[in-house]
């Protein structure tokens, strides 16, 4: 084949063949074989657990995955059943979901939106997952939620605290059990007022991305409402590891409270720096200087060590809660893995059960039927007291825990103590305040 002879006829026929080849996919478009995306047909149903296995939140991801495995075990009738016995709805019988054995696939979000979407798409397109859950960052949650809306599967958000997930970026196919920045602010402010007084001057250090902004906004609004003054709000780069240069100006500003709107490694570093600078020993304006961390997690408390002692924050759930649901969950998690679960594990476990229960009540895996079953659903026995899945924005409303770093921890897991359980009514807000549009549910296919 050293010379290609071209004839008019040859070009035409080749062109026709190529054209036909390209036209093939357009002829069969919209092949609606199933009533909805990935309708499970065999004796099993596949769920997709998309968690960060690498990157800054790998610890949370690993704990989420443990919770998912436990939930699947319980759904299939294994183990001690965990929260299924305390859950107020009795639709689940430990025989899988609607009699289908629950199987799962896992993926790595890398805490990057693109990677998370690629992983979720492969679960949907290749493995036939009918629900995606997990994640440990709001950016990822919003990205994957939009994908699930488009593909026509249900998204059960994992750890995501930004208002946006069920605020301006809410989607009809997405549901969040975890609490948000607004609730943290609303729960914290009265406790801060009661402990530190109503005439404080606050200085905010805020991680420079969406979650930081919404958290700063929430804490600021709710503390200003009780009479605090915000002296300054400084944004810190997400990649910052040494916060000394940001801590130094705090004292000169005349502020007497430092609010750290940081999460994960950021919070561990900034809090450690602040304590090392001796901020907490200072007396400013005749008052003891205090530090506040709006969102706490046990894994962060562990990282910051002794520095968290006496510092207030909020959390979605803590394993030391004494209600029957929490205890059942802690017991089966502890039996299987040898240590208590984190709040990330709790929310993922609960989300999986809630999804399964909604399918069982709806009698169908169709995302629209499931969404309808979840909307306005009131339940109890899942560790947070009576809870409502609000129909308007698919956000759970439940009690919020205000916690404080324990002065005398008895073990490496016993780092936080619960100061107050703020009732759901106090953190409830109007669904329209963040804007956004839920749209209508999409069953795909």
């Amino acid at each position: 084949m050293s010379k290609t002879t071209l004839t008019r006829r040859g070009v035409l026929s080749r062109g026709a063949v190529a054209g036909a080849g390209l036209a093939v996919p357009t002829i069969f478009t919209g092949s609606s074989v199933a009533g909805f995306t990935n309708e499970p047909t065999g004796g099993a149903v596949t769920l997709g657990f998309n968690v960060p296995q690498t990157g800054p939140y790998a610890d949370e991801g690993a704990d989420e995955l443990r919770a998912f495995e436990l939930a699947v075990e319980h759904l299939n009738g294994g183990g001690d059943g965990g929260m299924m016995s305390t859950f107020s709805s009795n639709a689940l019988e430990g025989t899988g979901i609607l009699g289908k054995k629950v199987e799962y696939v896992t993926g790595d979000t890398q805490t990057k939106s693109d990677a998370a979407r690629a992983s979720a798409r492969s679960m949907i397109e290749k493995d036939g997952a009918v629900m995606i859950s997990g994640g440990s960052s709001s950016g990822v949650a919003v990205a994957v939620q939009a994908l699930c809306q488009e593909a026509g599967v249900i998204f059960m958000a994992g750890l995501t605290h930004s208002n946006d997930t069920t605020g301006k970026d809410k989607k009809a196919n997405g549901f969040r059990h975890f609490f948000n920045s607004y609730m943290s602010g609303a729960a914290l402010a009265p406790i801060l007022g009661a402990n530190y007084g109503n005439d404080r001057k606050a200085y905010h250090l805020t991680a420079d991305y969406n979650w930081g902004y919404t958290t700063e906004e929430a804490v600021r609004t709710s503390t200003e409402a009780i009479g605090w003054e915000t002296v300054a709000a400084v944004k810190t780069p997400l990649t910052q590891t040494d916060f000394s240069s940001y801590i130094a100006p705090v004292l000169q500003s005349g502020a007497d409270v430092l609010v750290l709107n940081h999460y994960g490694g950021n919070m561990v570093n900034s809090l450690t720096n602040a304590v090392q600078f001796g901020l907490r020993d200072k007396i400013v304006n005749g008052k003891q200087f205090e530090i506040v961390v709006p969102l706490y997690s046990r894994l962060m408390a562990k990282g910051a060590g002794a520095n968290v002692k006496g510092i207030f924050g909020s959390t979605n759930w803590h394993w030391s809660l004494t209600d029957a649901g929490s205890q059942a969950f802690v017991k089966s998690f502890g039996t299987k893995y040898g240590f208590p679960p984190s709040q990330a594990a709790h929310t993922c476990y609960v989300q999986t059960l809630l999804y399964a229960d909604a399918v069982a009540r709806a009698g169908s895996f169709n995302p629209c039927a499931v969404a309808e079953a979840l909307e306005g659903f009131e339940f109890d026995g899942m560790g947070n007291g009576p809870t409502l899945y609000r129909a308007e924005d698919h956000q759970c409303f439940k009690d919020v825990l205000v916690v404080k770093g324990k002065e005398n921890p008895t073990s490496e897991f016993d780092l936080l103590e619960i100061v107050e359980v703020t009732p759901a009514a106090q953190v409830t807000y109007d669904a329209s305040i963040f804007g956004g549009d839920l749209g209508s549910c999409n069953p795909g296919a």
Binding site: Q53, K112, S113, R117, A118, V142, L147, E150, N210, L238
Partner: protein, 400 residues
């Protein structure tokens, strides 16, 4: 054919056939079998293959021909993505305006970056481009949040204006389409145990990739391409002969920036999400890896490299411990655990390790990348079969 010499025409035709048949070629294992794990013939991954193929082809025009190593190409990819998603939010969900604008915006931006960066060469050039890319990333991640959506990125919303589209009132975000042909629509062909998915979006992206590939061949074979090679081999000599290399390198830089923008626009067209992640420096590093892995300065190499890396990222990374245990379940328990323990670090989240090893092996033993590997194998067979070829001086030149 098409103004190509026969050898290039053959390469183009082979690539075209491979691309058209990819949904079948990439799904060699029947559904439900243990090996189905290795199937890559699902729309998302196939789209990624061709889109990153475009990205790498464009990068190769700069790096392969002029030798200028840009460490900031992901910035153009990201800017292309943002441009495309804004077109979709403001104008129409038809992908054409988005893709055209993404190429133009990336081109303008690369002109500005290239104008500054190309004042230096070698490592200084690389560092300058890296600095620009990181700057774009930081801006997109925080300062420009109102335009870029920050950490959350941008997605089309129900209440976007989309002034060219007919209004929708059912609360559903319209899908990206090409004059009505939705990018997500697929046809499944079931053949015995095999399921092949023919996806509209993939074929659109593949067609664009073939066009890009064709243009790249033309550039490689043109007098302009020869000039670019001259820049790589000896820029000083070029200066002494009175030729100014700057316009050539700048043109190459802009062309490859436009390729990156095109890839970014297509990414949004296939998966409507634009985020700052894809501008991070590791993304710029990835395209360098792709090009080197496949073969710098070769025509098909970057596409192969892109495929290899994306395959590992998406397939290898999903093999977890349970799956390994399933594979080796037949072995005695002790042996099974040992084998799983040996393999596990290289799959799942350890896929980077495998990629690193492969990269080292390629760089050490096949400096010409996977293409050189292919050529060596081909040469092995050729020598055995036709010794008379060499005598008559008709030995086939490797396809660059």
């Amino acid at each position: 054919m098409f103004g190509l010499n026969p050898k290039d025409a053959r390469l183009l035709i082979i690539v075209a056939i491979m691309v058209v048949a990819a949904p079948v070629l990439l799904n060699p294992f029947p559904e439900g079998s243990n090996l189905a794990q290795f199937n890559a013939g699902y729309p998302d991954l196939m789209q990624r293959f061709v889109i990153f193929g475009i990205f790498a082809i464009g990068f190769n025009i700069l790096f392969g021909l002029t030798g200028y190593l840009s460490f900031g190409h992901a910035a153009f990819l990201g800017i292309g993505s943002y441009a495309a998603i804004w077109m979709m939010k403001l104008l129409t969900m038809n992908i054409i305006p988005g893709i055209i604008v993404s190429v133009i915006v990336a081109g303008v931006f690369s002109l500005a970056v290239g104008w500054i960066s190309l004042r230096r060469s070698g490592i200084y050039f690389s560092i300058l481009t890296l600095a620009f890319a990181q700057m774009c990333y930081s801006l997109a991640y925080s300062v420009l949040t109102p335009i870029t959506g920050g950490e959350t990125g941008l997605q089309p919303k129900v209440n976007d204006p989309r002034i060219l589209d007919a209004a929708t009132n059912d609360g559903v975000v319209p899908k990206t389409n090409l004059f009505g042909l939705e990018m997500t629509s697929s046809t499944e062909i079931v053949m015995g145990g095999w399921v092949f998915t023919l996806n509209a979006g993939y074929y659109v992206a593949a067609l664009v990739m073939l066009i890009s590939f064709y243009i790249s061949i033309r550039i490689f074979r043109s007098p302009f391409g020869v000039m670019l090679r001259a820049v790589k081999s000896n820029q000083q000599r070029m200066n002494y002969t009175g030729l100014n290399p700057k316009p050539y390198t700048l043109a190459a830089f802009v062309i490859s920036g436009m390729y990156a923008g095109l890839a970014g626009g297509l990414m949004v067209a296939m998966d409507t999400q634009a985020g700052a992640d894809r501008m991070f420096w590791t993304a710029s590093g990835e395209v360098v890896l792709m090009t080197i892995l496949g073969g710098v300065g070769t025509l098909i190499g970057p596409v192969l490299g892109a495929g290899a890396i994306k395959y590992m990222e998406n397939i290898l990374s999903k093999i977890n411990k349970d799956i390994l245990h399933q594979w080796f379940a037949l072995l005695p328990d002790g042996l099974e655990d040992v084998i799983v323990a040996l393999i596990y670090p290289f799959v799942g989240k350890g896929w980077h390790l495998t990629l690193g090893l492969l990269f080292m092996l390629v760089v050490i033993f096949l400096p010409g990348g996977l293409v050189e590997g292919g050529q060596r194998i081909a040469a092995l067979f050729k020598r055995k079969r036709k010794p008379e070829d060499a005598r008559s001086g008709k030995s086939t030149e490797p396809a660059e």
